[in-house]
């Protein structure tokens, strides 16, 4: 019973973030679903050993990354078409903001993996540079460089006008 409760708490706390992380990692909704399911299945199997609450997020991230790598190590699939990126359910955004969201998502899909992944870890998972560095097994300064370049590249992809407009919408 205690294990069930802990697992339910784990799912409630992390399933949304982990799904979003998985999605931006693989850029496909169905594969993200499978990755998340496999991740939580493993979490359930190991629930008795999961004592350190602080380490849970990093542990879940590691499983997602490992499963994703196993799936993709031999074969690169085409990525999802820009028009297929889910935008319709953003009920909290105005119509104008939805356009901006669409642009940013499209740019994110074009961002190279080495930039996209740490950026998603930081923005979606709320991880610090140190946590990202530990997960990716690179130095903290390398993470900061990648994050800096990720944002630069994203703004380049959006174009100077679009990037400023996106920021203006967010500031309003």
């Amino acid at each position: 019973m205690e294990a069930r409760q802990r697992f339910d708490d784990l799912v409630r706390t992390y399933s949304t973030e982990i799904y979003r992380y998985a999605y931006w990692l693989c850029r496909d909704e169905a594969v993200a679903n499978d990755l998340v399911q496999e991740t939580f299945l493993r979490a359930w199997r190991s629930i008795a050993q999961l004592r350190e609450v602080a380490a849970v997020k990093a542990w879940l991230i590691t499983i997602v990354r490992r499963e994703h790598a196993r799936l993709f190590e031999r074969k690169r699939f085409p990525t999802e078409d820009i028009d297929e990126i889910p935008v319709e359910d953003d009920v909290n955004l105005s119509a104008d903001a939805q356009i901006d969201v669409h642009l940013v998502r499209a740019a994110m899909l074009e961002l190279p993996d080495k930039y996209r992944e740490p950026l998603v870890m930081q923005v979606v998972m709320g991880m610090s540079c140190k946590e990202i560095a530990d997960s990716l097994e690179i130095s903290e300064s390398a993470v900061m460089t990648q994050l800096f370049r990720a944002r630069q590249k994203l703004k380049e992809l959006l174009g100077p006008g679009e990037a400023a407009e996106v920021a203006d919408h967010a500031r309003d």
């Binding site: 339910d8 799912v11 949304t16 499978d34 998340v36 359910d89 998502r105 540079c129 900061m144 703004k155």
Partner: protein
């Protein structure tokens, strides 16, 4: 000194705009830096909104059901051996791709070849393990003029243009691997029967007012899925006149 500080500020702003220490530094550096900070933080909010993609309905409940299933010893296809299924799917995708790249001679009809080659365009379809909502599947089939008296379960369903017409492309996961099913509405049944294209086996059936093309790398999977679809149609047609494979 000011220049170095400004450069360091910009680097840190680009790496982590949410760092609370940046506000203090921006104040020390002056108006220009405060503007940069405001712009960077505004962009960050937009980025956060963009990355917060919609999460599938009932995601948490489905994941919590894993514990219930596993505790009771139950199993679902996707939970039992998802990576076996994925591996089989990948093999099929690679096989299909190599078929086209190597340009092997086809023994299938032009429609059969088009159906097999369409699968390469949607490799992710073969990886799907969730059951498609019945309303969605019924809606797609109804649009294609097909009403099944009995529900069938599929793991992927999408309207797709194949061989010059709109079709319903579906995938059914089987223990032997995924079976792709394409329904061609209002199609004359002029190329029925079993066929093979590269490593892919296929079977074309007359079904409803059109054709059903089943494809897999294993005949057992095709046979199993054919039986399900025959049964679904026969549930409303006691005479069973609508199903006709040509062996």
């Amino acid at each position: 000194m000011q220049g170095t500080d400004r450069q360091d500020f910009r680097l840190r702003l680009g790496a982590d705009p949410s760092d609370p220490a940046l506000a203090r530094e921006a104040m020390a550096l002056g108006d220009g830096a405060q503007d940069e900070l405001r712009r960077a933080q505004a962009f960050e909010r937009a980025l956060g909104e963009a990355l917060a993609i919609p999460v599938p309905d009932q995601l948490a409940q489905r994941l919590q059901a894993i514990a219930v299933q596993k505790s009771s010893g139950g199993s679902a296809w996707s939970g039992r051996a998802p990576w076996l299924a994925l591996a089989a799917s990948l093999l099929l995708v690679l096989g299909l791709a190599s078929t086209i790249w190597v340009n092997q001679p086809a023994t299938a009809s032009p429609l059969g070849i088009a159906a097999v080659e369409h699968l390469v365009h949607e490799p992710f379809a073969l990886l799907r393990t969730e059951i498609v909502a019945q309303e969605r599947l019924d809606g797609l089939l109804r649009k294609a003029g097909l009403e099944l008296p009995q529900a069938v379960a599929v793991n992927y369903a999408s309207p797709c243009p194949v061989y010059g017409q709109q079709t319903v492309h579906m995938v059914v996961q089987q223990p032997s691997g995924p079976v792709s099913v394409i329904y061609f509405p209002r199609r004359e049944s002029d190329a029925l029967g079993d066929f093979r294209h590269g490593p892919t086996n296929g079977r074309a059936l007359a079904y409803g007012d059109g054709m059903l093309v089943l494809m897999a790398n294993d005949d057992a999977g095709i046979g199993a899925v054919e039986a399900i679809w025959q049964s679904a149609m026969l549930a409303g047609e006691p005479s069973g006149q609508l199903i006709a494979g040509m062996d």
